[in-house]
Assembly symmetry: C2
DNA sequence: TGTTTTTGTTAGGTAAGCCTAACTTGCATA
DNA sequence: TATGCAAGTTAGGCTTACCTAACAAAAACA
């Protein structure tokens, strides 16, 4: 049985490695920043997770998840995304509210609960932010995704997911008129700072590089 | 913000005092037994809860909840019972499974979540064990309840709630053919050990004093 | 290649929540 | 009223998960 904290470390490692295609190792400082703790605290935990055979790690080396660690992480992500879907679909929360509550719910221990919840939701494939929900076997198809910042001027694309799950970002996304499946036309992009002008349902907006990098499109 | 542990102490105190009519103070050892910890641990926590003005307590004296402590406890019980109802009604868990999972869910922090859950469940009045669910204002009507052990020979009564929420007890209750609203006829009671013979739906069973004291009837 | 900067580690300390062992208080009952 | 036992408290220790400050290693860069 893993503690709440250990689970959060595994989940963070999954996001920093396995989920980011092309990058499969993380560093101490990076992990510390992601979890809002100090590198010294991370170092303590790395020793414990290594001892439990959940991560690969050598002193001064890079960190990666073992198969077992990966499986544990995927299970937490599965719970997180199913709970988000429940909150959004059944309790009518808005998509900027679900993440924070799911951060708590993801730690509830009961395999039966999550399987019943999945059935109740009729086996959803994606959560409210467009992220794929792993199945009960721990299978999750991670496909390389383009971001809005990579779309050429003049082209139109479809929003399929958001990278940032924070309330402030999601509220901003809604304000620009965007949601899952929105069609976005790229009108222009400044050479100097990459600020883009986009059109959504006939409405024009200017968005930053940072914003565009957090929007996944197809 | 209260910790998971502090919440469990308040809930235990509520069950030992306010909810038990006629008894409104508890002792250190009693609380320790209820929480499966040692009296020394309870003593530590009592100092903290007093400091936070959640309990009335003097060294070597009895313990009781302040108005604020009571309110906090009722909120946790409200969450516990609404989650049990959700698990039972929506996810089709059996009544002997819901308590354990609700012990975890009751600590999720979000007033909005619990109010939306209550609405989703259409404002239930009782949980799957027949216990009243406090409303959002913290109101809970505690009425004195008779137990099966107090019913006279020859009389018939109706099961309205169970006191013990453990899986073993609840499975036994089901095995005897009982559930909420079951009609129970008391056939006999031994003078020596108070073992009772009862009839439920034409089926006869013998139950112990301990069993009968955990069945609330009307 | 030498030096600076970044990254990572260690030592030592804190708070929460638990424990055991030893002690004190107060209540029941002789 | 004495006294023995149950109830309650204290002291000191443990583990988890965090911290700061000081240090070591590796990477970047000049
Ligand atoms: Mn999320
Ligand atoms: Mn989490
Ligand atoms: Mn219960
Ligand atoms: Mn609890």
């Amino acid at each position: 049985m893993l503690s709440h904290t250990e689970e959060n470390y595994l989940k963070a490692l999954f996001h920093l490695t396995t989920e980011n295609i092309g990058k499969n190792k993380a560093g101490t400082n990076e992990l510390a920043a992601h979890l809002n703790v100090k590198p010294a605290s991370v170092n303590d935990m790395l020793k414990k997770l290594k001892e439990k055979k959940l991560i690969h790690y050598e002193k001064y080396g890079k960190i990666s998840l073992t198969a077992e660690g990966k499986r544990k992480a995927v299970d937490i992500i599965r719970k997180h995304r199913l709970w988000e879907t429940f909150l959004y679909e059944k309790l009518e929360f808005s998509w900027d509210e679900v993440h924070e509550i799911a951060e708590q719910l993801e730690h509830i221990q009961s395999a039966k609960l999550i399987d019943k919840l999945e059935k109740f939701l009729d086996y959803p494939e994606f959560d409210p932010h467009g992220d794929a929900i792993p199945n009960a076997k721990g299978e999750l198809n991670i496909q390389p995704r383009k971001t809005l910042s990579e779309i050429a001027i003049g082209k139109t694309c479809k929003l399929i997911a958001v990278k940032d799950n924070s309330a402030t970002f999601l509220q901003y996304v809604v304000k620009v008129g965007l949601g899952i499946s929105s069609k976005i036309k790229v009108l222009s992009r400044q050479d100097y700072d990459a600020i883009m002008e986009i059109e959504v349902d006939g409405k024009r907006s200017s968005v930053s590089q940072k914003f565009a990098e957090n929007i996944y499109v197809l």
